[in-house]
């Protein structure tokens, strides 16, 4: 974009000032959505919990206290103050496991979204920029991936690659990637018609520069929204894979895996089932609330109405 900004504007703002204004404007629209602000606050709290897990957790997440099996939460009869949310069937502190589980969920979300985002952007840019048969081939392949129900394809991919956290993340990222590719392609195709792209091309910008420096920055808004929504789906789907025994393997304190281990105790000890699921729900809800706010703030169509 620097190639086209050589005009004599009446007031010249520095790049930093423009960026500050953009952020201020973004925050103005984002903060109008109360839910989004609450979501953001919960999400920041979650990040802090994950980062300081080893300080916050009262116990080690995998230590089994044999004298304290299935101890109920502190407010129930038989509860103990040293295990605030009770213990599971092998005597591990549930609160500590939940705290360490936050690390897993955030890590999974970040890895999945990063892989899917980078892959999708590159593929979408290629399809949208070159068009023609490149576009047709790429988009047909994306259609094929989208034809499968996402969880089913991820499951089968994990079955091929072998159960485990890494493979689960790769599988989920592969399944999500077409959404990013489609969005990038659509955005690139509409930007390609703009004059600033022609101007940059005339000024001698090569294909790589045109794709990544000229066009891509102007396509980011929908991608950011999609990334947020994919983050929450990734947390949900990886928990589902863990629940089905295909994700993180025991004794990892991953929330979905915890639920799988707790299944046989549902009618005897409600707390081993309730809290991990609540943790998943709260995290996913917070991220979705944030995503709604981001969409309101980044979508110019909604903004002015």
């Amino acid at each position: 974009m620097t190639d086209t900004s050589q005009t004599n504007a009446p007031v010249k703002l520095s790049d930093a000032a423009i960026r500050r204004r953009m952020i201020a404007e973004f925050w103005f629209y984002f903060s109008q959505n109360r839910g989004a602000v609450v979501g953001l606050a919960v999400f920041i709290l979650l990040v802090l919990i994950a980062v300081f897990a080893s300080v916050l957790a009262p116990h080690d997440p995998t230590t089994q206290y044999r004298e304290a099996l299935l101890v109920p939460p502190v407010w129930q009869d038989g509860g103990s103050a040293s295990y605030l949310l009770g213990t599971d069937a092998v005597g591990r502190d549930i609160l500590s496991r939940l705290i360490f589980g936050a690390q897993y969920s955030l890590f999974i979300g970040i890895v999945v979204v990063s892989i899917a985002l980078v892959g999708g952007i590159v593929i979408g840019l290629l399809a949208g920029f070159f068009g023609g048969w490149v576009d047709s081939v790429i988009m047909r392949v994306m259609d094929v991936i989208l034809a499968f129900p996402s969880l089913l394809l991820a499951l089968v991919l994990v079955a091929v690659l072998g159960p485990g956290l890494t493979n689960a993340m790769i599988a989920i990222a592969i399944v999500y990637q077409p959404h990013f590719a489609r969005l990038t392609r659509a955005a690139v195709m509409s930007e390609m018609k703009r004059e600033y792209v022609t101007a940059a091309r005339v000024a001698g910008a090569g294909n790589i520069r045109l794709m990544f420096k000229t066009i891509l920055p102007n396509c980011l808004a929908p991608l950011i929204v999609q990334a947020t929504l994919s983050f929450s789906s990734a947390v949900l789907d990886s928990a589902a894979l863990g629940f089905l025994g295909m994700g993180a393997q025991p004794p990892a304190p991953e929330w979905g895996t915890m639920l799988a281990e707790a299944r046989e105790f549902i009618l005897r000890a409600w707390w081993v089932v309730t809290f991990p699921g609540l943790a998943i729900l709260i995290s996913v809800l917070a991220i979705n609330l944030m995503g709604d706010g981001l969409r309101d703030a980044l979508d110019p169509k909604l903004k002015r109405s």
Partner: protein, 335 residues
């Protein structure tokens, strides 16, 4: 219209071929010798190994193997299960009605609740009803349904003792399988209590499976209604003194329903993914549980063909949704 249908059908061919390539390569990517994999722990003698390899065509080039695979598919041969030795297609067709029954009930629940809630929320925009229902929709949309199912089991089966925990019907009842739909078969059998038993088995799983589609439908209905209510023809209808219920029922709702119908149709993929989890939790003998069991038993022919059949099914339903959309909305057809 014929042209529209044909172009849509033609469009499906490459996608379908792509699906077969994925399903085919799935077994080929698996590490290890496929014959040894099928032989399992018992092992196999070198002579028998060579014989099986030739019989299954694994000695041919991969491309040839793919075309053999495709040829068999087109003849309706989806292979046999390693565990039960039965044809995969037969197993699929036996279990399929259970999933359809569950999925249909779920989508009916989701539509019957989701559409009115969405309409009401849009009409009373900003009211407490709008806020509460949309918050609930967002919670439903974020729900880990495998956990939600477990919670409902704790409450309704554990504490209240109202519903059974698993299966499709109590073992006390036995009647011929006519339609494959337990609700209909139990009614036709005329046995006392059979229908109630089938219904009480069905209710929790369908509520769980309906959760996410319900949230999506309610949100979509609300935003479609809001959009339509701002249109000129709605204002005109109001201005000429038409009663509110007619403005909403005739002018707004009909037009708002077009995107909503598409949304409902597109929930089939969501339902299939949800069925995997729901059927696992409630031991519901359908396609989802069959796939999970086959994956954990390493019954690869079932996984391969199951994947293919489900993807083809989703594709066909999406096509039908597309065609219906074209039927309702002529603008799509012309494009």
């Amino acid at each position: 219209m014929v042209r529209f249908i044909l172009s849509k059908l033609l469009y499906l061919v490459p996608t379908f071929l792509g699906i077969t390539v994925i399903a085919f390569s799935f077994v080929r990517i698996l590490p290890g010798d496929p014959v040894l994999l099928m032989a399992g722990e018992r092992g196999v003698s070198p002579e028998r190994h060579a014989e099986l390899t030739a019989q299954l065509g694994y000695d041919k080039p991969v491309v040839m193997q793919y075309f053999d695979f495709l040829g068999r598919l087109l003849q309706g041969d989806f292979g046999n299960s390693l565990v039960t030795k039965k044809p995969v297609l037969t197993e699929f067709l036996t279990l399929f009605p259970a999933t359809v029954e569950l999925g249909l009930c779920a989508i009916i629940i989701a539509t019957l609740i989701g559409v009115p809630v969405g309409v009401l929320a849009a009409i009373k925009r900003g009211s407490w009803f709008d806020q509460i229902s949309m918050t609930a929709a967002l919670v439903g949309f974020s729900m880990p349904i495998f956990w939600w199912g477990l919670l409902l089991i704790i409450l309704f089966s554990g504490i209240l003792g109202w519903t059974p925990v698993s299966g499709r019907i109590s073992l006390l009842y036995f009647f011929p399988n006519v339609t494959g739909f337990m609700l209909i078969d139990s009614l036709m059998s005329g046995q006392k209590g059979a229908f109630t038993s089938a219904l009480s088995h069905l209710i929790l799983p369908s509520v769980v499976l309906a959760t996410i589609p319900l949230a999506v439908i309610a949100r979509q209905t609300r935003s479609a209604m809001l959009e339509v209510m701002g249109e000129d023809y709605v204002r005109t209808a109001r201005a000429k003194g038409m009663p509110t219920y007619r403005v909403i029922g005739v002018h707004a709702l009909r037009n708002a329903m077009i995107p909503v119908i598409t949304t409902i149709g597109l929930q089939i993929g969501v339902l299939m993914a949800g069925a995997i989890l729901t059927e696992t939790i409630f031991s519901w003998p359908g396609i989802g549980k069959w796939m999970i069991d086959s994956i954990s038993r390493r019954d690869y022919p079932v996984v391969q063909s199951g994947l293919l059949l489900i993807a083809a099914l989703v594709m066909v339903v999406n096509l039908l949704v597309d065609l219906t959309y074209g039927l309702i909305n002529p603008r799509i057809r012309v494009k």
